[in-house]
């Protein structure tokens, strides 16, 4: 059977796909916020070297990083209702993405913070700067120099991986493409257009991040 690409149909799918894209972007945005907030908490918990808590956090981070996001999402999606938590699928997806990527973010924070030269701590101690100032104005800003480009790549990864939310019935980009395919029994155009949209956003974004990397590396 020879296949004919139907441009008319392909373009018709775009509005629906863009609707889905909005959810994709929403999931990426809030998921990232959650990931970077939680990630810092995990990182500080580990760096503080608290006898039991730090080890638990370490195990937790390894566990989240070492298990598939898909299963974690299923877990949340099916568990929440049984504990009386009725969250829309998108929110559940955001939480899932946020938790998963927070484990990765915590390692980046740790590397960034530990990468700040000892001399910065020592100069701060010698000057008697208050701890809050040392962390807030001296150490964390320098740690973020390292972390931000990496976080940029994580945001882009999250953007692409958010397609997984379609498995818990979120109507994001991938989900919409699947619905169109199922309804029209035409797979080629919707799935190809969806893949193209992913590419058209993530490639420029990746170039931007590489630019950012070069800038923070040089300065």
């Amino acid at each position: 059977m020879t296949f004919q690409w139907d441009w008319g149909f392909a373009l018709q799918t775009l509005p629906t796909l863009f609707q889905g894209l909005i959810f994709t972007l929403e999931a990426t945005f809030y998921g990232s916020l959650l990931a970077f907030a939680l990630g810092l908490i995990w990182a500080l918990a580990r760096l503080a070297d608290v006898p039991v808590a730090s080890q638990i956090v370490r195990l937790w981070v390894e566990f989240v990083r070492g298990t598939p996001l898909l299963i974690q999402l299923y877990f949340l999606f099916f568990i929440f209702p049984s504990y009386g938590v009725t969250l829309p699928a998108l929110e559940t997806g955001i939480i899932g993405l946020g938790i998963y990527y927070s484990a990765y973010a915590s390692e980046v924070y740790r590397a960034g913070i530990e990468g700040v030269p000892r001399g910065q701590w020592e100069a701060s101690l010698a000057l008697g700067l208050p701890l809050r100032r040392v962390w807030g104005r001296i150490v964390l800003p320098q740690a973020m120099r390292f972390a931000i480009p990496v976080f940029g790549t994580y945001v882009i990864s999250m953007f692409k991986e958010s397609a997984i939310l379609s498995t818990i019935s979120v109507l994001e980009l991938m989900g919409q493409a699947n619905i169109i395919s199922a309804e029209t029994a035409r797979y080629v155009e919707p799935l190809s257009m969806a893949a193209l949209i992913f590419l058209c956003i993530s490639y420029p974004a990746a170039r931007l991040v590489r630019l950012l990397e070069a800038r923070t590396g040089a300065s």
Partner: protein, 242 residues
């Protein structure tokens, strides 16, 4: 599958669940093998001085990396048949995961080879050593050790990605977990157990990678990379007010 019992229990389905483990591992290793091969092909292509090789390689890599792996999976599974390419689900799945992963790994390969000092190649040429010998005995032993830790990460990532294959009817671990969940009333036990199984596999693979790291480092003539480099950095004890 026994579905006509009055109160189905997770323990009844355990054998079914665990049968997914070898399948998952099989796919993981097959896709990783493809990842390594395609990673080298793409990586060396992108590192080539010849524009006619470098640009197409770069293009393929960016397309593979930039479009979501999940989108690629669905695309390969549903669209390829329309284009006359009929693949077994297993083959399609391994190809997508392997090529997608290879596109990412190509950067590791390229960087590792680029990090071997030019002087090494020049010295080898000056000593009249053949190109093959140069590659095998001089360059590879220095480039390979650098690639092992990222390879380890890629391997574990691949393990996790195989769960996506459950979406295209491949009956690995995630597929079975979901199937069992739909039979039982309670989702928590089966998914918790599944997570633990994946975690156990990931830890085992990590140990394997550490062993590989030691092996490759010894072959490359190094001691464990960076073990002496506890440089003047790190958070002091008083940073948390103690």
């Amino acid at each position: 599958m026994k579905t006509d019992q009055a109160n189905p229990n997770l323990t009844d389905y355990l054998p079914l669940l665990f049968q997914g483990v070898p399948i998952t591992l099989e796919v993981t290793f097959a896709a990783t093998a493809l990842l390594v091969v395609s990673g080298f092909v793409f990586g060396l292509g992108r590192g080539s001085k010849n524009r006619l090789i470098r640009w197409p390689a770069g293009f393929v890599v960016e397309v593979l990396r930039g479009s979501s792996a999940i989108a690629q999976l669905f695309w390969a599974f549903y669209v390829l048949p329309y284009l006359g390419i009929n693949l077994e689900p297993f083959t399609a799945g391994i190809m997508v995961l392997g090529l997608n992963g290879g596109a990412y790994f190509s950067e590791v390969v390229r960087a590792a080879f680029a990090s071997v000092p030019k002087g090494q190649t020049e010295a080898a040429i000056a000593l009249n050593l053949s190109a093959w010998f140069r590659l095998r005995r001089i360059i590879l032993p220095q480039a390979l050790p650098i690639m092992v830790p990222p390879f380890g990460n890629a391997l574990i990532d691949m393990l996790k990605f195989t769960a996506l294959l459950s979406l295209v009817t491949i009956q690995e671990l995630a597929y079975r977990a979901d199937a069992i969940r739909s039979v039982l009333a309670d989702a928590a036990p089966v998914y918790s157990l599944t997570l633990l199984i994946y975690f156990a596999m990931a830890l085992t693979l990590s140990l394997g990678v550490q062993w590989l790291e030691r092996l490759v480092n010894r072959w490359g003539g190094r001691t464990a990379a960076g073990s002496n480099q506890r440089a003047a950095s790190g958070v002091p004890r008083w940073a948390f007010g103690r």
